[in-house]
Symmetry: C3
């Protein structure tokens, strides 16, 4: 139940970030819905398609897409107020990041995809939606330029893998990974952690 609430909140926050971009580019309503939905469920869909777990759960479970559409129009109508609660949205987004990291790792683990893949699918689930969002509006994905977002997911995925050495159920592993990645992302935002850039002049 707690997991479901986190899942919904995370999807909602991701959808908001898609809706933001749609409005910035003055897309129409369909573009708004597509960007919100792609950002909200794109990472999970990419994970499921790559793992061969088709059709993707985000499309068959009838809860996710309505959340994304709801998030899109809520944002469209109330976007001035959203600016006021921008920090709250970022916190919920970080919670979503943590949860999707954990769920991606758990699903790759359940499908026996091997240790590398577990870490990778954690990051794909968490950051794939945002990457699609940016590519759809012809931007270089933010996550490739200056980031401690997918990096937090990669570290969270590694933690999930390490938890295998303890005798824990899947739910415990998901909760611990979610909490850890969430806190790591908040810490990174607060301290403006960034990976080094590559393109320094020599």
């Amino acid at each position: 139940m707690l997991l479901l609430i986190i899942d919904i909140l995370g999807t909602f926050a991701f959808a908001i970030s898609g809706a933001e971009k749609a409005v910035r580019y003055r897309l129409d309503w369909l573009g708004l819905i597509v960007l919100a939905t792609v950002t909200g469920v794109g990472g999970g869909v990419l994970r499921d398609v790559m793992l061969g777990s088709t059709p993707p759960v985000a499309l068959t479970n009838p809860i996710y897409i309505p959340i994304c559409i709801f998030g899109a129009f809520i944002y469209l109508k109330l976007r001035l107020r959203f600016r006021a609660i921008r920090n709250l949205i970022l916190v919920v987004d970080a919670l979503g990041l943590g949860f999707f990291t954990a769920v991606g790792a758990a699903k790759a683990n359940a499908l026996a995809a091997g240790p590398y893949s577990i870490i990778l699918f954690a990051a794909i689930t968490a950051a794939g939606g945002g990457m699609f969002r940016d590519m759809l509006v012809s931007e270089i994905p933010q996550v490739l330029k200056s980031d401690f977002y997918a990096t937090a997911a990669l570290i969270g995925g590694t933690l999930f893998l390490a938890l295998d050495y303890f005798d824990l159920g899947d739910t415990s592993k998901i909760l611990i990974t979610t909490a850890f990645t969430f806190v790591l992302r908040l810490y990174a935002m607060r301290n403006k952690l960034e990976l080094p850039k590559t393109g320094k002049r020599i």
Copy 2:
């Protein structure tokens, strides 16, 4: 037989719109073929991959890709004449839209993908190819900016779903959905229907 002819005509019209864009960007022959093919079969391929129906029928059935290549070079050689029949091409494109909407819905239905997915895969099949086309040349997909194209497919997919309440065979449902979506798209073009934009200044 009628369905096959519509399928071929639709693929051909989609390929033409890919070839148009390739010429506008002065791509080479390979780019021309790739853009025509991706536009012609991309939506169906994306649908099949997401539904787990692999390898995609557009790649295994040896008719589709030759149609796309044929369309690409016909356009390249005769493009001045194509301008004269531009309206005819748009009508055939709308026919393709209607047909791909119906086929996408029928396939998702056959694979028991759930009501949401049926509507979604109708739109993915119909509009996916054009979206790939635009992304390949680094444009924001037209369908996200001002559209009554994917929207017609979404409405057509909903109709297909509603037809489930009647005792109809798949072929009847496909024909009705194709005809309805086709007419809806023509009506939208004629009356320049568009969805509202999101980015009005507040």
Copy 3:
């Protein structure tokens, strides 16, 4: 054993071309790793996902991604020296092109994907990674603009198909196709072969 060495060298050369682009766009370390990895394994992943052979072997076999990451950082640290051996890298890249063409054709063949698909998957495996690389930085893929790269892969894939008429094992067919495509690509580079452009003014 020879095949494995060629595979590793090819992946390494592809990863270098991804790393080059990451540095040119001044991405951060994650962007560097992602671009190197996507270029190195993206074609094979796309092939496997489209063929339904999931999870993709590039993600489950723990050798490929470390090679890409290694290539990325080697390039970052030594890129001035890489310029000096630029021609060597291009030769290794051509070797990778040849090998991935052969492997893509062989895998599509093994999964009974039909003659068209064999040629197509040869090209997807060989050129898909570079196409993703360019799309991630919002460029029109080089391969669509002026190319004898995917074209070499298409011709190599056709050769692989033709070899079916001889009584050869898979390894022989892979070696012959690799060698042929490799030489074809070198020849094309040396003689600056290009496909005709489409967009001549009329």
